[in-house]
Amino acid sequence: MIFSRVYAVFLRQLYLIRNNPTRLASIFLWLLVNIIMWGFISKYLGTFGKSTFGFVTVILGAIILWEFVTRIQQGMMTSFLEDIWTQNFINFFASPLKIAEYLSGLVLNSITTGLLGFFIVAIIAGAAFGYDIFKIGLLLIPAMAILFIFGISMGIVVSGLIFRLGPTAEWLGWPIPLVLSIFSGVFYPVSTLPFALRIIARMIPASYVFETIRTVLSNPSITVGIASDLLIGAILALIYLGGAYILFISVYKRNLKNGAIAQFSAESF
């Protein structure tokens, strides 16, 4: 792996933002809208009855972390789509660039925009709703690492599907985070789900992260099982990452045989 080639892929995305700052809207606008909307919903729900349940704590924390996953996944996907829209594949893949370097460049881009979005939203959540995501403490580090790997895996899978099925497959990519949020225990405990859906939830790394955070926030004295749950989440995330990479490579090899790389454009599918 040659870093200058990874950096070239990253730099191309950075130039796109620099040349057209309205692209920042795609990174931050949805995040801001979501955090503000859910912030007010949480505040409103918190006014009901004599509830001691911290809606703001649970909902906003979940929203911030799930938006982080979503931005990572969509950051990968939109960077990949940019190369389709500008018919740039032939230029990239006829150069010494390797697939691992190309994907690493996209990962570098999505981690940059994902973290930027995370910090901005964390600041707004603190200023507007008095919510401090960093109260989760050191647990935030492994939690975000697992969510990051999972987000990258989803991004690679969606990019692979687009590479295999054509640019219209991007419509599969946009709702994937929303669909997965049903099983990931983002807004409610996994135990809320019926048995069959709970099995699916157990196969999703993010569910271990959100269950752990919910447990710790509701009862900070509980420490048993946290490390093992996070470890399962991390192992699953790494398995997904490996699987996603294999999928992308197999689609690339297929496209190398059928000529799709040279002719890859919206019109060719």
Binding site: I2, S4, R5, Y7, A8, L11, R12, Y15, L16, N19, N20, T86, Q87, N88, I90, N91, F92, F93, A94, S95, P96, L97, K98, K253, L256, K257, N258, G259, I261, A262
Partner: protein, 249 residues
């Protein structure tokens, strides 16, 4: 010309289902040589170029560049080759300078700032350095594609219709730039074009493709008369319309 073989294809074949787009073609390009790959639309020129570039896997046969197999050593070989093609657009939303920087990094160009300045000067792109590629005229865009194509000082340059859609004056300008570059660097060039006057002017050798086969090959200045034709254009038309009557024995 030092006669070093830079590119060699042996039995190169590409088959899509029952259709053979390229059928067992073998040829070589030497250092400092400009070889024209000619033929009507659908003859297999771009398919051949794509296999040489390593973005299309041959069904059979081999591509050897610098004595190494392209399929096995794609990334390593790609450092020493480059291309410009009418269908390979430069990212339109990056400026000229940004494009050159991105591709310079991809090709591992040393002293990149210096090289970019050199190319901007050489291809008269200085005043467009901060303009986005998407707003350049066809001629300016072709110059940018060529600047990108030589950024790594390739020893093998693949040009797929580099002057298509350009007016005769700009075509001439581009042609001269390439010729000058080849004379200076002894780069091996494989060039496809539908402009026969251009081919006559720049190529040392031509290969006529028809239905994926090499039908004719030779010196572009003597080949027409060898086959009873006035010029290369007349020969091209004959290849396109009556290939069987021209088949080399």
């Amino acid at each position: 010309m030092n006669n070093e073989v830079i590119l060699k294809t042996v039995g190169l074949t590409k088959q899509y289902g029952t259709i053979k787009a390229v059928d067992h073609i073998s040829f070589a390009v030497q250092s400092g040589q400009i070889v024209g790959l000619l033929g009507p639309n659908g003859a297999g020129k771009s398919t051949t170029i794509n296999m040489i570039l390593g973005i299309l896997q041959p069904t059979d046969g081999t591509v050897e560049i610098f004595g190494k197999n392209m399929v096995a050593h794609r990334s390593l070989i790609s450092r020493g080759i480059n291309f410009a093609a009418v269908y390979a657009h430069m990212p339109p939303n990056l400026t000229v300078r940004q494009n050159l920087r991105v591709f310079g990094l991809l090709y591992g160009v040393k002293k990149l700032n210096y090289r970019i300045a050199e190319l901007l000067d050489e291809f008269d792109l200085e005043k467009f350095a901060s303009s986005k590629a998407g707003i350049l005229s066809s001629g300016e865009l072709s110059r940018l594609s060529l600047a990108k194509a030589v950024i790594n000082r390739p020893r093998l340059l693949l040009l797929d219709e580099p002057t298509a859609s350009l007016d005769p004056s700009i075509s001439l300008q581009i042609r001269e730039k390439i010729k000058e570059y080849v004379d200076k660097t002894q780069t091996a060039v494989l060039w496809t074009s539908h402009n026969m006057r251009e081919i006559e002017a720049v190529c040392d050798h031509v290969l006529f493709l028809s239905h994926g086969h090499i039908l004719l090959s030779g010196d572009p200045r003597s080949l027409p008369s060898d086959h009873g034709k006035r010029d290369l254009e007349e020969l091209f038309i004959a290849v396109a319309r009556e290939p069987l009557s021209l088949k080399e024995t």
